[in-house]
Symmetry: C2
Subunit: 212 residues, 2 copies
C-alpha cells in the first residue's frame, strides 16, 4: 500500500450476490477514501465446506427475507441484482468453480480485465439470469467485458492448469486464514494487522474505523 493508505482486500465469488453489492460500493469508495482496493477472487464453495457454513436460504424464513432484503439493497445501492425464489434452486445447481478459475487466470495474465470481467459475471448470473458454468457462457461474459477472443481462449485453456488451480486454492485459504466463513469478506489492514469485515453491511463501519 502507498504511504498512509489503507490496503483493503475484497474476497469474493461471482455466485454471491451480496459480494456484488460490496464490490460496487468499494469501487465507488475507492475514489473517495484513502484506500488501495485489491480484488481477491476466491471460491465460496471451498469456504463453506471448510467452515461448515450453509447458504442462508437453507432456512426457509431467511430465504423469504433475503428476497425482500436484496430487492431493497439493490435499489438502495443502485446495483441491478434481480433475485427471485427460483435463484435459490439455480444457485444450488450451479458451480462457480470454472468461472472463478477463469477469473483467476485472467487476473494472473491480464489483471486490467479483473474488474470488468467480474462485474460481467454477476451481470450475467444475477441480472440476466443466465448460466455461467459452461465454456460458452464464460466466453460470452469475457466478450462482454471487452476481452479479445484470443485472450479469452488462452485463459480458458489455463483453467485446468495446476498454476491456476493452486492460485485459487491459495486465495481461498487466505480468506479462511483471515477468518472468513462466507462472502463477501473484506479484509482491511490497519493498526499493523488484518481486520475482517463480513458482508456488504459493514462498509460504513469500515470507513469509520479507518478514519473516513
Amino acid at each position: 500500500a502507498r504511504m498512509g493508505r489503507t490496503l483493503v482486500e475484497l474476497y469474493y465469488d461471482v455466485i454471491s450476490p451480496y459480494s456484488w453489492l460490496a464490490f460496487e460500493v468499494l469501487c465507488r469508495y475507492r475514489h473517495i477514501w484513502n484506500i488501495d482496493l485489491r480484488f481477491r477472487p476466491a471460491f465460496l464453495g471451498g469456504i463453506m465446506q471448510q467452515t461448515g457454513n450453509k447458504p442462508p436460504a437453507m432456512l426457509p424464513k431467511r430465504g423469504e427475507y433475503m428476497l425482500k432484503d436484496m430487492k431493497r439493497m439493490a435499489k438502495y445501492y443502485q446495483v441491478p441484482v434481480h433475485m427471485s425464489a427460483d435463484d435459490f434452486k439455480r444457485i444450488m445447481g450451479t458451480s462457480s468453480l470454472t468461472a472463478m478459475r477463469f477469473i483467476t487466470a485472467m487476473d494472473m495474465t491480464n489483471p486490467q480485465y479483473l474488474e470488468p470481467l467480474s462485474r460481467e459475471f454477476w451481470m450475467r448470473f444475477w441480472s440476466q439470469h443466465e448460466d455461467i458454468s459452461q465454456p460458452e457462457d464464460i466466453l460470452a461474459v469475457a466478450r462482454q467485458a471487452g476481452v479479445s477472443a484470443e485472450l479469452s481462449q488462452k485463459a480458458l485453456e489455463m483453467i485446468s492448469s495446476p498454476t491456476v488451480k493452486d492460485r485459487l486454492k491459495e486465495t481461498t485459504a487466505e480468506a479462511l486464514k483471515h477468518g472468513a466463513f462466507g462472502m463477501p469478506a473484506v479484509v482491511a489492514h490497519y493498526d499493523g494487522k488484518p481486520h475482517l469485515f463480513f458482508g456488504s453491511d459493514r462498509l460504513e463501519l469500515l470507513g469509520s474505523v479507518i478514519g473516513e
Copy 2:
C-alpha cells in the same frame, strides 16, 4: 400512528445483544425521524425453535467474528455491550423467558417503564455480565430502572399468569407472522403493509425507504 407518521415496531429479546444496538439506535432516530416507535418484547427462544434457526455462534468461525464485530459495532454506536467468548456459553445456559415475561407484565401494567427496564436488562447481562434469570436478578434490574418495590413485586407475581404468558406468546407469534427468524426484527408499516428489516444493520436502509 399519527397522520403521516410511519409506525415502526421493534421486536426484541434482552438476551440478544444486536437487539440492544437496534433499540438504542431507534431510540435516537425516534426524535429525528417522522416515526412512531413501538417496542414489542418477544421471546427469541420461541422464534428460533419455530423457524429452526440456530444461534450464529454455533459456527466457530462466525463466533470468532461476532466478538470482533460486536466490539466495533458497540464502539461505533456507543452502546456499552462487552462480549467475550465466555458469553456464548453463558447465553446457552441462560433463559430469558422469565425476564421477558416480567417485561411483558410491566408493559401491560406500567408501560412507562418498558424502555428503562429493557435497557437495564441488557446493561446487567451484556455490560455487567450478571445473571438475569432469577427473581432476585429481576428485582435488582427493576430497581435500577426506577421501578418501585411494590410495582416490581406485583409484576413478578404476574409472570406465571395466563394473561402474561399468552401476551408474550402472541407477540412472539406476531413477529413470526411478519417473517422474523431471529432478533432484532424491525417491522415498518408503509405502503399499506408491514415490511420486515432483520438485524441492527438495516436501519439506514429503513430510513431511506421511508424517506428519512
